[in-house]
Subunit: 203 residues, 2 copies
């Protein structure tokens, strides 16, 4: 099992470096359980799949507190057969309850309900890619059924689904979609955009 | 057939709105052949698959000419079975020469060699997702063989491949990878990040 993400933060300000560096402190509590590497395009985090979305939530909320328009963009992956198994990625929860159908939705909804609010409103959109078998659309449709009941569903868009709400339930919804709708060994990728403080839509 | 992209531009300046609006003029020549819609997260372009990367190249190079650090992020898709067929998306070239193996690589390399230079150096990384069959890694590995010979290959990263060079051959390489390594009717998605004027690496 290998799981992780390539994460980028884009603060729309000339002072973007200090916003990014300030926000990075928010991931200090995760450093012991993750391998983290940065280059000029993104920061790689490799670690347990169930902690990826909490890590991104804490990073993004810290950046959004700067008040500037800021976007997080990430490519999230688990089970890629081209990556080596890594002990650091051992999940501490059961992954992939898709075979249980409605149960995956129920479990996921309970996790979203339990998510702590952060006080930060965000808009997000993401594409979900269950790879490597013939029934990828079934898994996508099951995940969409969950998303529509999540309480943070905004609308379906071409190629992606849009969410809106408090960062707590939004990132919880993303995490559950990533963890629960493809089998444990499956290759799953998720392409994510999260935005805060946009002047285009203020609420 | 349905093909298009959700595209976002992130200029790292407080004046980001004017950089984005200025760059949008660069896609005027494409408007007749594309359906284009914008919301607070991204701009949807729907049209012929072989014109998606030229459109993004022209948009990004125009934004990069502002001189500020700017990033383009996009989710690109063709053949999604959840989207309706659309006449506007009819390809004018042959798609998907993966069955011809080495020929797909040769055709793609010739297209990259013929790409006009723009004078704008960019760094890019992307993930390529051929969906819905059991041999997706074969298609990924064939595409990687092409990328390594493209002249703009930088390095393999976890979950993605990094390119660097002039925007002309970089976007041509991305376009060929998207068009040529999965069959015509296949569902293919590509998750893209392109950066210019980053202070992290100047060359």
């Amino acid at each position: 099992m290998f799981s992780g993400a390539q994460i980028s933060l884009y603060p729309m300000t000339g002072d973007f470096v200090s916003v990014i560096l300030g926000a990075l402190e928010a991931i200090d509590p995760y450093r012991k359980r993750f391998r983290i590497e940065t280059d000029d395009l993104s920061t790689l985090v490799v670690g347990p799949p169930e902690e990826l979305f909490p890590l991104m939530r804490d990073l993004f909320v810290a950046a959004a507190k700067s008040g500037v328009h800021v976007v997080l963009s990430a490519t999230v992956s688990r089970g890629c057969p081209g990556e080596p198994d890594a002990e650091i990625c051992t999940p501490t929860t059961d992954l992939g309850r898709v075979s249980q159908g409605a149960d995956a939705i129920e479990t996921s909804l309970a996790a979203v309900d339990a998510a702590a609010r952060t006080g930060q409103t965000v808009a997000a959109q993401f594409s979900y890619y269950p790879l490597g078998d013939g029934r990828h659309m079934d898994e996508i449709y099951a995940a969409i059924d969950f998303l529509k009941e999540s309480g943070v569903f905004d609308r379906a868009k071409n190629f992606c689904t849009k969410l809106r709400g408090d960062a707590g339930p939004v990132f919880a919804t993303l995490g559950e979609a990533f963890l629960n709708f493809a089998p444990e060994g499956a290759h799953v990728a998720l392409d994510l955009t999260v935005s805060a403080n946009s002047p285009t839509r203020v609420r």
